[in-house]
């Protein structure tokens, strides 16, 4: 008797609290889903806006011709396409080896004082505003070389990429089970061989992914290039001379008063975005393939 009363009471309590709890639950679900949808929508809107506006600027001349004088319609951005590719290659050559060795150091020495110092330094490097990187490279490379140059622009981008690469490559190295290293050492491999022959190849896909994301980030940087690569209306492939870059062209064109240049700025944004998105796609396709 008592028991059934208690059970009935429990049931009432349950019934009384179920609905509000269920309501709260669905409210919370909406609360977390909405931002997710919003973020997705934001991404889609940006992509659609750039693709829609940019596609109208695209034609053969846009891709293969050089810049026209101020206010003259026509011309293209070939100088910026080539410039951006050059800057990326230079930045990658400068930052990749350094970043890989740095990440290995952090991985192998993790927990030690020296690794903590390096980690702090890398975090600080990541926090430096990109415009400051541009100014510093101007002092370090442009002024001594007596010229703005692709080299200086690539160096500035390398500094931007470096902390990103180290961080992501370190994560990639961390994912390699410790037993791999132990097994290699147990078989009599010297430490350098265990690292170069086992750890790094095992982390390869993560390392390449890091490189892809680093390049995607560097490709869109404008500020570090303003006092280094400087821009160029002509197609130039000289390392020691100034070169154009897609973000610089977007920056110059979008604040100009010329409608034709506004259109071309969207076109340049289109190219940059397609490049970055396809880089991401290739990397994720590769990753899935390997796994």
């Amino acid at each position: 008797m008592n028991r059934s009363i208690a059970a009935a009471a429990g049931e009432t309590v349950f019934r009384d609290t179920y609905q509000p709890r269920s309501l709260r639950n669905s409210m919370f679900k909406v609360m977390v889903t909405m931002p997710a949808v919003l973020i997705l929508a934001l991404m889609v809107f940006i992509v659609v806006q750039v693709l829609f506006n940019g596609a109208r600027a695209l034609n053969l001349e846009f891709l293969i011709a050089e810049q026209r004088p101020f206010g003259e319609p026509g011309g293209g951005v070939v100088q910026a396409i080539v410039g951006t590719l050059m800057l990326i290659v230079i930045a990658t050559l400068l930052s990749f080896p350094l970043a890989l060795l740095g990440a290995l150091f952090l991985h192998l020495e993790s927990g030690r004082r020296s690794a903590r110092i390096l980690e702090g330094a890398i975090n600080m490097l990541q926090g430096i505003p990109s415009i400051v990187v541009g100014v510093v490279v101007y002092r370090w490379i442009v002024v001594p070389m007596k010229s703005f140059s692709a080299l200086a622009g690539g160096a500035a981008l390398a500094i931007i990429m470096l902390p990103l690469l180290v961080g992501m490559m370190r994560e990639a190295l961390r994912l390699v089970p410790a037993s791999y290293m132990e097994a290699a050492l147990a078989l009599g491999a010297p430490r350098w061989r265990a690292v170069a022959g086992i750890i790094v190849p095992a982390a390869r896909s993560g390392i390449i992914e890091a490189l892809g994301l680093g390049i995607a980030r560097a490709a869109g940087e404008t500020a570090p290039l303003m006092f280094t690569a400087f821009g160029n209306p002509f197609l130039s492939v000289s390392l020691r001379g100034p070169v154009a870059a897609l973000p610089l062209v977007i920056y110059e064109y979008i604040k100009s008063p010329y409608d034709d240049w506004h259109q071309k700025a969207w076109g340049a944004a289109f190219l940059l975005m397609v490049f970055v998105l396809s880089l991401n796609l290739v990397i994720s396709a590769r990753k899935n393939h390997i796994r």
Binding site: R68, P69, F70, G71, E72, L85, M86, V89, V142, V143, K146, S147, F148, F230, G231, N232, P233, F234, S236, V237, S238, L239, R240, G241, P242, E252, K255, S256, P257, Y258
Partner: protein
């Protein structure tokens, strides 16, 4: 996939190496500075490239930026439409010369419904930029423009955010016509603006004025013309209403020229002269043998300068810049001939 990627990378390096070798042959020159003459410079350099194969890269970063770059010796020439004052010569490690190139006008552009033609005086412009006149239908503006219906819109003053020779000439004019402006704001490449919004370079100011209804700005005439923007007619020192155009700019420069061509052309007493006219210069070192420069580089530079004050002048008028008057060309010739390589003149 892997192989083709490798081939692509190798091909790219080959292209770059080839490029280094290739560009050693093609002469290139680098300049930076004033955006005031950028439309005519980029046009001249495009023509010069077609005629001679020499590629001149001019970046319109603003006069102050151009002067800084020539101080740092990272460009072949700086562009400026404010001349270097005697007191600033100490910032240059060696003597510099000013080569005048074209004349232009700082014009007042605006963005109003229907864009009616407007008349403004220097004093009214000063009061607008001082923030004392805030509405387009203010009595001070209405009195100058009888018969024109002015909207009750707020005025949005647009100014240059970067160090600029255009700003220098504009504020020099306002200082000359408004004692209050001279005292409160003054005259420099960059000043503390009491009100308004900043935009970078002439192109940026023109772009911003086009985008904001009720905006007013100051740019070189070419930017206004290229974008079909309305331009205010201004009362000059002689009391005449003057529209900025080729003849009124030339008229302002009809007087004598000093040998070093460092002269302000604003508010001259020429009867038909536009009051905010300005010369623009290229700034180069008199002795060209410095840093890691070659004699070929120096020779290419003086050849370019010589071309610009002669054949290049043909590109000025189609873009609404005035050609250099004959006395200025004569002075410029003497200046270019004074440029040397290890003490020897580069042009005989």
């Amino acid at each position: 996939m892997k192989r083709s990627a490798r081939i692509a990378i190798v091909a790219m390096f080959a292209a770059m190496l080839f490029g280094i070798a290739g560009t050693a042959g093609a002469q290139t020159l680098l300049g930076a500075g004033a955006s005031f003459p950028a439309p005519v410079y980029t046009k001249m350099f495009d023509a010069y490239n077609k005629a001679t194969g020499v590629k001149v890269n001019y970046q319109a970063i603003g006069s102050s930026g151009g002067l800084k770059n020539i101080q740092d010796k990272v460009v072949d020439f700086g562009g400026s439409d404010s001349f270097v004052k005697d007191s600033d010569m100490g910032k240059y490690s060696a003597p510099i010369v000013h080569v005048p190139t074209v004349l232009g006008a700082v014009v007042i552009v605006y963005n109003l419904p229907g864009n009616p033609p407007l008349r403004l005086t220097g004093e009214v412009i000063a009061n607008i930029y001082l923030g004392k006149i805030t509405k387009w239908n203010d009595k001070a503006i209405a009195d100058l423009n009888p018969g024109i219906k002015l909207p009750a819109m707020d005025i949005v003053q647009v100014y240059r955010s970067d160090g600029s020779g255009t700003t220098f000439n504009f504020t020099a004019y306002l200082s000359a016509v408004s004692p209050e402006w001279k005292q409160v704001v003054g005259n420099a490449n960059s000043v503390q603006w009491p009100v308004g919004q900043g935009a970078a370079q002439n192109a940026g100011v023109a772009g911003m004025v086009r985008q904001i209804p009720g905006a007013i700005g100051y740019v070189e005439l070419a930017y206004a013309r290229q974008n079909n923007m309305p331009v205010a007619t201004i009362r000059n020192a002689a009391g005449n209403w003057i529209e900025p155009n080729l003849s009124s700019i030339s008229a302002a420069a009809a007087g004598a020229f000093p040998a070093d061509t460092r002269i302000l052309l604003m508010n001259t007493d020429a009867r038909e002269g536009y009051p905010i006219s300005a010369l623009t210069w290229l700034i180069v070192y008199r002795e060209q043998s410095y840093g890691n420069r070659t004699r070929e580089q120096a020779k290419a530079l003086v050849d370019l300068l010589w071309w610009m004050i002669h054949d290049g002048q043909a590109y000025a008028e189609p873009l609404d810049y005035a050609k250099l008057p004959a006395p200025a060309v004569k002075a410029a010739e003497a200046i270019i001939k004074s440029i040397t390589w290890k003490g020897e003149p580069l042009l005989k």
